[in-house]
């Protein structure tokens, strides 16, 4: 009961929204005046996945909106903390990810929509017997402020090459087969043989992907009477892809001078993913990219669902990005057309 009361208190108190009537001057409301090229240095990403548990490392990304027709993207990641990978163990591989793709814009539109403008925000915490309640008070402009949006939809396609260490123990041990040297056996049969109990091998996949990409850009800057400069700007990407991997290769396993061809009977050549990215349309700063889905690769013996828990993943990366204006830009081509 106490927990329910506490929960109600927290929910009701956590967002007391107060609005008030104010006037403002629009300083800028132009989504077309953005920088269309983004270069990112990712000092740290983390990829939590069914292959090896987790990997963290560094990466680099680039993204280019070429005029009104094309999108291009590049993504590279390399692990410096790859679970199961040992530099001295040639049976394992470090996490290496390379992606390149191109998109064709099939829909572009501009519309106006009210967006929230935060005037002020404050938090206070009150303590009671065995609990505490944090109250956040946010003051918005009532009803928001109209802002022009540029919305883009594109088809996209590309290629992904990925290597990672592979935890054999996450697979069905009776399906992992070691073949060669005249003595074929399963990982299950290898119990007790120290040469096969390192538990980790490596997986390499080459995938094609295709999907849909949505981008929304807005850039609203206003001067609110009595409050000063306020901004609501976004350069937001959302994408959904289907993946097909013609190549799924488990690295050969070498032990005690003998090399075995490692095979796994249940693999799925298809996967899917969904991702989000966000930055400022013009200013340099920090941004993130979040992606989740199911990669092509090993699956459970009886798995027929979309979510393949043997090969699921989610990836989060945090980057320092540099936006640049490289011709042709969306704005340039629009002016030419006009």
């Amino acid at each position: 009961m106490k927990k329910i009361i506490l929960l109600i208190l927290v929910i009701t108190a956590s967002a007391q929204i107060k609005a008030q009537s104010v006037s403002w001057t629009v300083l800028k409301d132009n989504p077309l005046d953005h920088r269309n090229f983004t270069a990112c240095i990712d000092p740290l990403f983390i990829d939590i996945n069914g292959n090896n548990g987790y990997t963290f490392g560094w990466g680099a990304r680039a993204e280019y909106m070429m005029g009104k027709l094309f999108l291009m993207n590049f993504d590279f990641r390399s692990g410096f903390g790859t679970n199961g990978y040992k530099i001295s163990d040639k049976n394992t591989k470090n996490y290496t990810y390379l992606e390149g793709g191109i998109g064709i814009i099939f829909s572009k539109s501009q519309y106006s929509k009210h967006v929230p403008i935060v005037l002020s925000q404050s938090s206070s915490t009150s303590y009671g017997y065995g609990y505490s309640v944090t109250t956040t008070t946010t003051k918005y402009i009532r009803g928001g402020v109209p802002a022009k949006h540029l919305s883009i939809w594109a088809f996209r396609a590309g290629l992904i090459s990925m290597s990672n260490s592979l935890n054999y123990k996450n697979l069905a041990d009776s399906l992992v087969k070691f073949k060669g040297n005249g003595s074929d056996f399963t990982f299950k049969d290898s119990v007790g043989n120290k040469h096969f109990q390192t538990g980790f091998g490596a997986l390499t996949t080459v995938s094609l992907y295709g999907g849909i990409h949505s981008r929304i850009i807005r850039q609203l800057q206003i001067d609110v009477d009595g409050w000063g400069y306020r901004e609501n700007s976004r350069y937001k990407d959302v994408y959904l892809d289907l993946l097909f991997a013609p190549v799924i290769s488990i690295t050969d396993f070498t032990s005690a001078g003998k090399t075995y061809d490692v095979q796994y009977d249940k693999v799925s050549h298809f996967g899917w993913r969904m991702g989000f990215a966000n930055r400022h349309p013009k200013d340099q700063g920090f941004n993130f990219k979040f992606e989740f889905g199911v990669r092509p690769g090993p699956k459970a013996q009886d798995n027929k669902a979309m979510v393949n828990f043997k090969n699921w993943y989610c990836m989060f990366t945090y980057a320092l990005y540099f936006p640049m204006k490289i011709k042709p830009t969306f704005e340039d081509q629009k002016r030419t057309a006009e």
């Binding site: 240095i41 000092p43 740290l44 963290f56 560094w58 692990g79 410096f80 903390g81 790859t82 990978y85 040992k86 530099i87 001295s88 163990d89 470090n94 400069y229 200013d283 340099q284 700063g285 920090f286 945090y318 320092l320 540099f322």
Partner: protein, 239 residues
């Protein structure tokens, strides 16, 4: 603790970058990541440890921003440790080169509104740092200590150049193994604006730290002096 510190650091960086209002007359050394070359020398009176030195860890992760406010966030030791995880897991590190901040911050205020001339600021330092006092091989096996101190900041723009200097003093505490600890530092910065708002900067840094502590290997009371000289290099934004 180290992971929490690192996450707090990254979130704080995000908030700073989000709410920081553009200002003129300053620069932001965004070593995110940055490069570092130099050396660390540890001198002890413990016969088991002796004196040892090593090249400074290569990657750094820090922000050093001088505008109206001075903001510094140092995650160098944590980031170096993270980048060496594969090697450390395979026992391929001869010695850990983690030195400086697991998560350390500085906050200062620059006095004066004439952004074209020399400005001086004053600030406080606080956070969680580490030094390889025990000749440890794995970065995250190193012990950390709390740092608290203050310093002065100087900034002078010269055409396309931004020149900064920082001096300060810190006290180091950790009741579990440090009896007393203190140090001082000098950091210079020369930034050069290359394209639009962006450029590069070089940051020569000198740190001297002294400790009376219990060594991890034998528990003996040990005096140690850690001297660091490094050159840091990274991308810099001017405003």
């Amino acid at each position: 603790m180290k992971i929490k510190s690192f996450l707090i650091g990254v979130i704080t960086l995000q908030l700073w970058s989000h709410y920081a209002v553009a200002q003129k007359g300053g620069m932001n050394c965004q070593y995110f990541p940055g490069l570092q070359v130099g050396a660390v020398k540890v001198s002890t009176n413990n016969p088991k440890l002796g004196n040892y030195s090593y090249a400074a860890g290569l990657p750094v992760l820090m922000i050093d921003r001088i505008a109206k406010w001075y903001i510094n966030m140092d995650l160098n030791a944590t980031y170096y440790g993270a980048t060496q995880t594969n090697k450390a897991a395979d026992n391929q590190l001869k010695i850990s080169k983690a030195e400086g901040g697991y998560c350390t911050g500085r906050l200062g205020y620059m006095i004066g509104k004439n952004y074209d001339k020399l400005r001086v600021g004053i600030g406080i330092n606080f956070g969680w740092q580490t030094s390889n006092l025990d000749s440890i091989k794995k970065p995250f096996s190193q012990r950390g200590y709390t740092a608290l101190g203050g310093g002065l900041i100087f900034y002078q723009p010269l055409g396309k150049l931004g020149i900064a200097a920082k001096v300060g003093y810190e006290k180091y505490t950790n009741k579990s193994f440090i009896n007393s600890g203190s140090g001082f530092y000098f950091e210079g910065t020369v930034g050069y604006n290359i394209f639009q708002k962006f450029g590069v900067s070089v940051m020569p840094c000198f740190y001297s730290k002294s400790f009376d502590y219990k060594a991890q290997s034998d528990g003996a009371l040990t005096q140690a002096k850690v001297t660091t000289f490094v050159l840091r290099l990274g991308i810099t934004k001017f405003f």
